[in-house]
Symmetry: C2
Subunit: 318 residues, 2 copies
């Protein structure tokens, strides 16, 4: 099977059918219609075998994750996802793997109205790079650098599950339900696209939690030129994480990556509004601390200051 | 050195400084302003070690090529390149390699007014994926599927040089100038961006020659539902290719990939206009044949039909 046949069979109609795609897969590039009054949002993120997943990782999950990690970036900008490109390097053609991969990718793409409009297939060690374009009303994107001292700091869903999921055995039908839950959170992260859109007029700054809550919150704070005091009791820990990690659960929640939750700040006047968002968007939103002028993060448990060394994920740290 | 430091040192200000970049590298995604009256053009292409280049390939050339192969796609659409994302997987941090890589990438980006607005660094076997966005006046993009019987078929520059360059020893200062020329054509392809823009109101269809002229011309013809008769004497063969490949030069020109020239069709009324384009855009444009209703490609040398089996590059052909 040659590249054209592979594309026809697995990729040509993947994802949503959007009216703003003037020309999709099959030419030198895709042609897209951008409506007036919006800014274009562009991001890319990759999954590399050996770095982001182990050999033998389920293809359906990889298809889902490769798109989800990009949807999460678009969500963190408060944007609506629109068009994706997929660059897939594979050591060989494995049609059963490809079927599972596009099923995982396609289901998530359809759910978020994303059309696959182009890409590239190459032979090499398995790696998956997705580029995602979204749209956001001009001037209304969520950025990292607009938080202010006095704002509250929030995080969606629960954090630390995916990192704990890495330590679980591969899911089997008879695995414990905690292990299944934690693996599922790792293998099928839920990008918070609806929440990002809902935060457009509310959040002062936003970032997605991909490398660990502590490290990503620090990035938001640094970009905004402020610091924060966080209350450990307020960290949203799932019951499976509490049972699995015990006393260390809060450290896992702060340092573990791959959560793909949103961490955002908002002025105090929006507190009630944000409390109302949780039931609307279907996941909890926890207020975990407050921003201050002084830089850095202070962690408190009750009135005690806790010591914590962040070990957020970084591929290139020495 | 961590990922953020790498980005700050090598990537943050790479390429052109464009006024339409509302937010570049450093947030979850980039924010770009799309002017009215244009369509967005999106493409991606990758270079994978072992598939597209050998271990030890010069980093400066890889930086150039990774962008050039995407610029070539944008050129084939008749579009103006604008914003790039770069996903770079590296086995380790090698700062000397990185310096050379960004020098090659940055020089070509600056030449074509491309801003690097985002990307992703990951640890893994060396592979380079670039996503490039361009803009084209609405309804004026060059496509593959609008050629008509009776149109002339053209190709820019010369073809086969890069494929012959693959057979040359690595360039040394004392290498033959033919070998140097051919290697240069492989390692530093020139995307025909200005030509693509100039063809917007002229060409009926266009494709970039990445997998070999025969195969790519066939793609254009198939998409347009026609065939063509090509005259071998009209193929643009460089003198170094003629000297290096001898009697086989025309076969190399038809089958060799990585030329990154433009192959396009145009109605006969534009013939004079196209002849005038060559001096303006700085490279020859050769009329290599004529389109007809009957599908397939007939190759003629004088009045004799020549036999030729295309062996254009395909990573996944069995």
């Amino acid at each position: 099977m040659d590249e054209t046949q592979l594309i026809d069979r697995y990729f040509r109609d993947l994802g949503a059918n959007r009216g703003d795609v003037a020309l999709g897969i099959g030419d030198d590039a895709a042609l897209l219609r951008v409506p007036p009054g919006v800014e274009l949002v562009l991001t890319t993120d990759a999954l590399i075998e050996g770095a982001h997943f182990l050999p033998g990782a389920p293809a359906n999950s990889l298809g889902h994750r490769a798109l989800a990690i990009n949807l999460s970036d678009i969500a963190a900008m408060g944007a609506d996802p629109a068009w994706a490109l997929l660059s897939l390097n594979m050591p060989a053609v494995d049609e059963s793997w490809l079927r599972d991969f596009v099923t995982g990718f396609g289901a998530l793409a359809a759910r978020h109205n994303v059309a696959l409009v182009g890409g590239n297939l190459g032979r090499g060690p398995l790696s998956i790079t997705v580029e995602l374009a979204g749209l956001v009303p001009t001037g209304h994107a969520l950025r990292r650098d607009r938080a202010r001292p006095g704002d509250w700091l929030y995080v969606s869903g629960s954090v630390g599950d995916a990192a704990q999921g890495l330590l679980q055995p591969v899911v089997t039908a008879d695995g414990s339900s905690d292990a299944r839950y934690l693996r599922q959170r790792l293998e099928y992260p839920t990008p918070r696209v609806e929440l990002g859109e809902a935060l457009r007029e509310i959040a002062s700054a936003c970032i997605d939690v991909s490398d660990g809550l502590y490290v990503d919150a620090q990035r938001l704070l640094r970009a905004s030129g402020c610091g924060a005091q966080l209350q450990i009791e307020q960290l949203p820990l799932s019951d499976p994480l509490r049972r699995s990690a015990g006393e260390e659960a809060w450290r896992t929640a702060l340092s573990g990556g791959e959560d793909y939750e949103l961490c955002f700040s908002a002025a105090p006047e929006f507190k009630d509004h944000i409390d109302e968002l949780a039931p609307k968007t279907g996941q909890p939103i926890s207020c975990i601390g407050r921003l201050r002028r002084e830089s850095g993060i202070t962690l408190k448990s009750g009135n005690s200051v806790m010591q914590f060394s962040p070990s957020g994920w970084d591929h290139f740290r020495d």
